[in-house]
Amino acid sequence: MAILNLKKRQIECKIVYYGPGRCGKTTNMEHIYKSYKKQVTGEMVSIDTEGDRTLFFDFLPMDLGEIKGFDVRVQVYTVPGQVQYRSTRKLVLKGVDGVIFVADSLAVRREKNMLSLKDLQHNLKEYGLNIFKIPLVMQHNKRDLAGEGLPIMALEQMERDLNRQLKMPSFPASAIAGQGVGATLKECLKLTLISLKKEMKLGQ
């Protein structure tokens, strides 16, 4: 649930990147951090957690407009999937407004993707959230690796594996080249704002 900050006249909403280890969550966030540099307040926080990194920054995307005179401030996080980081996960997922699931296109990571998605459902449920209801966008990352001769999965197969039930919007991407990164985030922000407006009954 987003926070209304009356002092600053801002709505703070929380977007979380989720996905298996080394799928490109960090690369996604680094790219966004660079391209929105001017609108980012403060540094990007980066914590080394075992097997993965936890990142955070917040920014005021100019192109998002405002809701009833409130600017929208976006906090972006990645969250460590490892079981032991319960406290970090709790802080990050509590009150999350939108989720971007980054899937790894490498064929060898197929199972890791599915496990991570299941894990996401489980973790959201723990904080009273429903994966079917929360604004959720999928990104099929590392499409560029096909060009390097590495076996990657067809988009159709990934959709079948991960998106058959959820039917969330999905985007092919190559985070390292910056392709598809902005589109994924924008879609997620769009869904999040629609859902926020609905929640606050400001839509009518």
Binding site: K7, E12, V45, F56, P80, Y85, S87, T88, K90
Partner: protein
């Protein structure tokens, strides 16, 4: 006059949440944190929403702030006031929060509270080093005398008569049970833990010590005022007394069972009738029951099979005790009844009210008893895991 702008329980609102809240509110003032597991108070100073300094025990600055993330069970109060202390913390809010939380989960920040055993047992993998069970903050008003035991000396001998009830003021002791295959170490206890059971001052069924306790380090003990405790006890309602005695028996059952499971003496199918399940582990039964006839067996379902944790008899209570975590039914064990089992429903609310009004030492005693039951159950499951792996 002191004015609290914000106060509450850390169980409900964690330090991470509070920091974020004070941050987005750009508050200036002092956040005080207290925990019943430590006597010192933690303080964090905020200027315009950013933590600038902190203190906790002998620590200051960021180290103090980090350590406060380990006070997961406690209370906080935020005072809206001018802060004039020096700024020695320069990290951003989220950096502090995310860093501290990952340190907490990595075990670099100590969690204050009754030990969390499952973590320790799993990570150490070395069962010769037993976890140390600490009790709640000691209430000194009931201590009438102090005694000291040197390391490796026996404090209590198994099977001997003895009526003292002690609380450990300093040091670590070990609970040991005699078995045909040699002494079996069950638990280590530290500051705040109690030695002796209710029977110590009730003279229930004689006062035979059910296990030996020896000092691991030099141990300083406080002798508790048994007369005052028995007066407190007599002031309680009949049903609450019954609950306390039932917990005491349950503790003894849990210990007996740990030994039996260790010796691999238990044949579960011989006494448990799967058809007569009263409570299913994890189903969230909300009621409390008193047994009027028959026997109820408490059994935990683990990935290595069913583990018996003890049996309850007429007069004993089972079900959900809202203010205590026994680590048994309804969340962590099932209850199976004998064919002739009969029980009646009790109201947990009456118990809750009486519990809230208990004297500190008695409350501590009951809390500690619950933690001991919970931990002994875990130890039993570890024994079971080992014998099933053999």
């Amino acid at each position: 006059m002191v004015n609290f702008a914000l106060a509450g329980n850390l169980n409900f609102l964690s330090l991470g949440d509070i920091l974020q809240f004070l941050g987005s509110n750009t508050s200036t003032g002092v956040l005080c944190i207290t925990s019943k597991y430590t006597q010192t108070q933690g303080k964090i100073y905020f200027v315009k929403g950013n933590p600038v300094n902190a203190s906790a025990g002998s620590l200051v600055g960021i180290d103090a702030l980090n350590s406060l993330f380990g006070w997961v069970d406690g209370e906080f109060e935020f005072r809206d006031e001018n802060v004039s202390c020096e700024q020695i913390i320069n990290k951003s809010r989220m950096q502090i929060i995310l860093e501290a939380l990952s340190m907490l989960d990595d075990g670099q920040i100590e969690r204050l509270g009754p030990m969390s055993f499952s973590d320790k047992l799993q990570s150490s993998g070395n069962s010769s080093i037993l976890p140390i069970l600490k009790g709640p903050l000691i209430d000194y008003t009931y201590i009438v005398d102090e005694e000291e035991f040197r390391a490796n000396n026996k404090i209590v001998a198994e099977g001997k008569h003895g009526g003292w009830l002690w609380v450990i003021l300093e040091g670590v002791a070990e609970i040991v049970r005699k078995t045909p295959t040699g002494p079996l170490k069950l638990l280590r206890i530290g500051e705040g833990a109690f030695i002796g059971s209710l029977s110590s001052f009730l003279m229930l069924e004689g006062t035979v010590r059910s296990a030996a306790i020896s000092a691991v380090t030099n141990v300083q003990l406080g002798v508790l005022d048994a007369r005052r405790l028995s007066v407190d006890f007599l002031r309680m309602s009949n049903s609450f007394r019954n609950l306390a005695i039932s917990l005491d028996k349950r503790m003894k059952q849990a210990t007996d069972m740990a030994v039996d499971v260790h010796l691999n003496k238990i044949r579960l199918e011989e006494y448990i009738n799967i058809k007569n399940q009263v409570i299913n582990q994890g189903d969230g039964e909300e009621n409390l029951f008193e047994i009027t006839q028959g026997v109820a067996h408490i059994v935990r379902h683990t990935e290595h099979g069913y583990v018996p944790l003890g049996s309850l008899y007429p007069g004993d209570l089972f079900g959900n005790i809202p203010f205590l975590d026994l680590g048994q039914e309804p969340f962590h064990a099932s209850v199976f009844g004998s064919k002739n089992l009969e029980f009646k429903k009790m109201s947990p609310d009456d118990f809750q009210q009486e519990y809230n009004q208990l004297q500190a030492t008695f409350k501590n005693f009951i809390d500690h008893l619950a933690t001991c039951i919970s931990v002994t159950s875990m130890v039993t499951c570890e024994f079971h895991k080992k014998s099933s792996q053999k």
